[in-house]
Amino acid sequence: MTAVDTPARSGLATLRRGLALTPEFRKGIAGTLLLALVATAGRIVVPVAVQQTLDRGLRARGGPDIGFIRTAVLVCAAAVLLTAVAAYLMNIRLYRTSENGLAALRVRAFRHVHDLSMLAQSGERRGSLVSRVTSDVDQMSQFMQYGGLMIIIAGGQLIVATVLMAVYSWPLALLVWVVFAPLAFALRVFQRWLSKAYGAVRERVGDMLSAVSESVVGAPVIRAYGAEDRTARRIDESVGAYRDAQVRAQTLVALTFPSTELAAALATAGVVVAGTALGVGGHLTAGRLVAFLFLVTLFVSPLQVATEVLNDAQNAIAGWQRVLGVLDMTPDVADPGAAGVELPRGAVDVAFEDVSFAYPGGPTVLQDVSVRIAPRSRIAVVGETGSGKTTFAKLLTRMMDPASGRVLIDGVPLTDVRFSSLRERIVMVPQDGFLFDASLADNIRFGRPEASDEEIRRVLTELGLGDWLDGLPEGLATPVGQRGESLSAGERQLVALARAYLADPDLLVLDEATSAVDPATEVRLQRAIESVTRGRTAVSIAHRLSTAEAADEVLVFDRGRLVQRGPHAALVAEPGRYAELYASWAAQLKI
């Protein structure tokens, strides 16, 4: 479990913190509660009408007092209508307020996730972060649209019914409470069982979806390896397990749901027996006794929905807790904001001072790195996988902060530079150039939103990609597909490069940005990059040492340490890590 998943907070604390973070929820709450009071109070109209009719209308000498009954019915009908109007107004206000609050919460959480460092966003946690701004908030929304309303109304109804019962006959009210008290306790237990059973259902649905998606996403591998039977078996197992969990949960529901029905019948029977005995003694009228029977149904219905709604409520609170958990995480790479330094444009000078880095709980991946990169120099960073190259790049672009030491640009610590200024001046092209499901032009424009199509075309031409663009069926309007998958891995890298170049940074960091394109294209790109980065500082993480040969200076990393630095010609001549790497690279080139 990670910090993202486990905020431990009580329901009340969640409510307090949640309302503090989303003040939208509190807007107009007083008016809504007032309407809720009217809406629930109206629910006792019918039992009162029954009682009045039986006691006063029918008891009148000379047959029923139709005049009285007519007046009572009309007054009650007016009350019912008033109740309906109040309920309508309350609903509308509640939906509007809650949805406003939820939308604001969603957007705030979304923004916050982007503000968290890449550390929190890496790998498997991404999916859970997505659910923070989707299903967790949806759960709250669903609860507020149904369960929340029910709880307000049911709570009010319970109170109103109890009060009226006590007014009619306190001994009978006590009797009803005695019958229902153990039920309330039992419902708590049932609800705990149910929430466990539904927890199992949710777990199984995850397994099932993952197994089903294998048959679609993994179709080529399944075909190529004849793994149909294995996959079918897995699907069958997970579908079966999901079905079994559903049936188990449903069995619990089926067994526990009618318990309120039985309690109601027991209470009704008790009321009839005790009420008749009381009536014979002259302590109760027949109308009040019958009204009591109606009140019992009024009393039961909130309890009947309680199991269902409490489960919803628990899920909603858990969801809210998870969203708050994200909002309460302090971004470990924080934007100094307005207090930060705004750096003027111009070639960047970089200095690492005794920089070390380790992922929390992990081994040190970068150790005591001190290096200065002069403005306008072109640097190649080389080393085996796991030597710390990419970590170096991430620290340089402040995707992460060092565990110790500092990174300075133009003499200013990176942590003091305002993000808007930092991102304008330093841009990294990652190895996996993620593209958005939009047109080619829009993807490149992501680097600079105000750029015109002409500018985009110019950028592509300058990178030597004009012919490639002309070869695309719809040119700049070509859709790239989800994650850019309509393009090849190599083409995606071309787009990512163009995107970064359009952003016009002063320091360009390339993290194996051309690893998937063919050698001839890569060489051409390399040259284009050399010409477009003239006058800027450029740092390339290189997997092909041809890049290193062309650089002004090479930084050699080995097991988290900077072990060698200097121009290619000098390094290759001295014994050391670089000479080894170069020998193995040269051996590959030679036939």
């Binding site: 109209v45 029954v50 029923p64 007519r70 019915v73 019912v80 309906a84 939906y95 509007r96 949805e99 969603r106 957007v107 979304f110 982007h114 966003q121 498997e124 991404r126 299903s135 949806d138 979806l209 294998e214 048959s215 679609v216 591998v221 075909r223 004849g226 793994a227 079905r243 069995t251 089926a254 009618p258 039985l262 019948a265 029977a269 009839v272 027996v273 009420g275 014979v280 027949a286 991102r423 499901d437 992501f446 030597g464 012919d467 070869g471 695309l472 309509s486 891995a489 190599g490 083409e491 995107r499 970064a500 690893s515 063919d518 001839a520 294209t521 060489v523 041809s546 080139l589 030679k590």
Partner: protein
């Protein structure tokens, strides 16, 4: 919606339910019978209460005395009816749920079986998201009306019994009932009808919000490196606002109809009181009857809504069912022949005049080459020249539009089921890992001892990092498992191929994310494998491994032969493979035009 269309949908909906009735006749009958019991007892409980009021309560109040026997009898009657009703409720919920879950499970299995049976070409024509929702959301929607169906049937019965009961009590009061109950039922149908599209719209928007969040978080590194968090938040806020409005629209409908549906039965009870009192004066009714009918109104108010629930689910159910049927009725398969290719030693491969296209233009034109048993062929060409498509044809993931792929002289189309997958192995460019253990990912269900798995991992240079994993072979990888680097994933995919000891091994740039030093060791170990190897590569060291090179540009074989020979014969080939040395030797001439072409997007779709 016209009357015609509505009745059409209802007819189709009934057809869907009939399918369930035939599949699960016993459970469905049990559910309906339970519901009937529940219905009868609901009406019965009102009747009992009326009788108890009249004969026990009123009598006692009138006479000023009562006997314990009558009281106990009255109490027992109330509890007894409630017990039966509870039994009905429990049975209805349990059996209705089981019918629904069984049908869902059965159709999930059926749909995914189709996915496994249909050829890859069919998969390529259908977007992934669509197929996933067919197996999940559509199956669920198709069987959604099954849950409230028994309840609704019970309600129909309940209404009939109630109508008779009220009619038997008093004709005039019955008229009030006949006005109120259809009004509730009708209003609820209107309510659900209007709610369904609005709720579906909100559901779609929820999916949209999720898509934007997914994409944005997946591209977080890009968003961050370019400092575009604010714009992304704006994009997300726009879809979130749309969803908010849709949710409010749902709420507005609920907020309007719920109070009306709540008020109607209450007004009905009041009307019964008024009319009933008048009838009471004329002696047509007793106070007990009045209580009975009034109580019935209170009890029936809620269950009547079940009719609306079923009707609301029907259009969604019909759409879901039709989409599921599209998959189940899809034809087109990759028919297998009956020839076997289970010879010993490396397989011979011959590609003869092969043509292939995805939608429009051909990606491959008249590709011809031969790989003698045990030889290694390198396929070289610029990005997007059709290499990945070619590898798919070699292991028969797709069939050529023209020409033939022959394995040991047998046309791939004539080979028996599982014949090719037992003989050939393709390692694709992008390694796909299943949500399974390391062992499961390597064996894919093949029954091999762990020693063989380790041996394959060793050949793929993956034994080192696998033994360093916390649970070794039992470590979960894939979607929800341990994080592996691109190179590690590729090596697992390679081990998956090697553990099968294929007679034809096809590598599609399968070591691109592996360090050169590690790759060299992998290539060394492949040299000794008893397989014919076809390898797509850029790296010279990989090409060096090959006996022959096939050079492809824009889907055509431009040259083939030994590497040294091609270097002299083919200018395009020379340019491509010697790019690095030339870059090192010559100063940079400014030369545009990378070797990309428009066929690229199709090629990726296969990989």
């Amino acid at each position: 919606m016209s009357q015609k269309v509505t009745s059409d949908i209802l007819k189709k909906g009934a057809g869907v339910l009939w399918v369930a009735a035939r599949a699960e006749p016993r459970l469905l009958t049990a559910a309906v019978l339970s519901s009937a019991l529940y219905a009868a007892m609901t009406v019965g409980s009102a009747w009992v209460l009326g009788r108890v009021t009249q004969d026990v309560v009123m009598a006692a109040f009138r006479d000023g005395r009562t006997t314990t026997g009558t009281l106990v009898l009255g109490g027992l009657a109330i509890v007894g009816v409630a017990l039966l009703k509870a039994l009905g409720v429990a049975g209805r919920r349990l059996y209705a749920g089981m019918v629904q879950y069984n049908m869902q499970a059965a159709y999930r299995r059926a749909v995914t079986r189709q996915y496994l049976r249909l050829p890859l070409a069919w998969h390529q024509r259908h977007p992934t998201g669509r197929l996933l929702s067919n197996a999940n959301a559509d199956v669920e929607a198709a069987w959604a009306p099954l849950a409230p169906l028994p309840m609704a049937l019970g309600v129909v019965l309940m209404l009939v019994i109630a109508a008779i009961a009220i009619l038997a009590t008093d004709l005039v009061v019955a008229i009030v009932g006949f006005l109120v109950f259809p009004a509730i039922a009708g209003l609820n149908v209107i309510y659900q009808r209007r709610l369904a599209p609005v709720a579906a719209h909100a559901q779609r928007l929820r999916a949209g919000v999720s898509e934007v969040a997914h994409e944005s978080f997946e591209g977080a590194l890009v968003v961050k490196t370019l400092g575009r968090e604010a714009d992304e938040t704006e994009r997300f806020a726009a879809v979130a606002a749309e969803l908010r409005e849709a949710n409010v629209a749902v709420g507005r409908l609920r907020g309007l109809f719920d109070p009306i549906l709540e008020a109607l039965p209450n007004l009905g009870v009041l009307a019964v009181l008024l009319v009933g009192s008048i009838r009471l004066r004329s002696g047509a009714m007793s106070p007990g009857d009045l209580v009975h009918v009034a109580y019935l109104f209170t009890l029936l108010a809620f269950p009547i809504r079940a009719l609306g629930w079923v009707l609301a689910e029907v259009p969604r159910s019909v759409v879901g069912w039709e989409r599921v049927q599209d998959v189940l009725e899809a034809t087109g398969s990759l028919p297998y022949g009956d020839r076997s290719v289970d010879g010993k030693g490396p397989a011979g491969l011959e590609v003869r005049d092969v043509r292939f296209g995805y939608t429009g233009d051909d990606v491959l034109h008249d590709v011809t080459f031969t790989a003698e048993p045990g030889r290694t062929i390198a396929v070289v060409g610029p990005t997007g020249s059709g290499k990945s498509t070619l590898t798919n044809l070699l292991v028969r993931l797709v069939d050529p539009a023209g020409g033939r792929v022959l394995l040991d002289g047998v046309d791939a189309r004539d080979v028996e089921r599982h014949g090719l997958s037992a003989t050939t192995a393709l390692v694709p460019q992008q390694a796909f890992l299943f949500d399974d253990t390391v062992r499961g990912n390597v064996t894919l269900g093949l029954d091999v001892p762990d020693e063989d798995v380790w041996e394959a991992l060793r050949l793929a240079q993956a034994d080192g990092f696998v033994s360093a994993l916390a649970d070794g072979l039992d470590t979960r990888v894939g979607e929800r498992g341990a994080t592996l680097s691109g190179g590690q994933r590729q090596r697992l995919a390679l081990a998956r191929a090697l553990v099968r000891r294929p007679r034809l091994l096809v590598l599609d740039d399968a070591t691109s994310s592996v360090d050169p030093q590690v790759e060299a060791r992998i290539l060394d170990s492949l040299r000794d494998s008893a397989a014919t190897v076809v390898v797509v590569a850029y790296r010279k060291a990989t090409i060096e491994l090959a006996d022959d090179v096939v050079y492809i540009e824009r889907g055509r074989v431009l040259a083939q032969g030994p590497h040294k020979e091609l270097l002299e014969r083919s200018a395009g080939y020379r340019d491509l493979v010697t790019a690095y040395e030339r870059a090192a030797d010559e100063p940079a001439p400014d030369e545009p035009a990378p070797g990309e072409d428009e066929d690229e997007e199709n090629e990726e779709a296969v990989a």
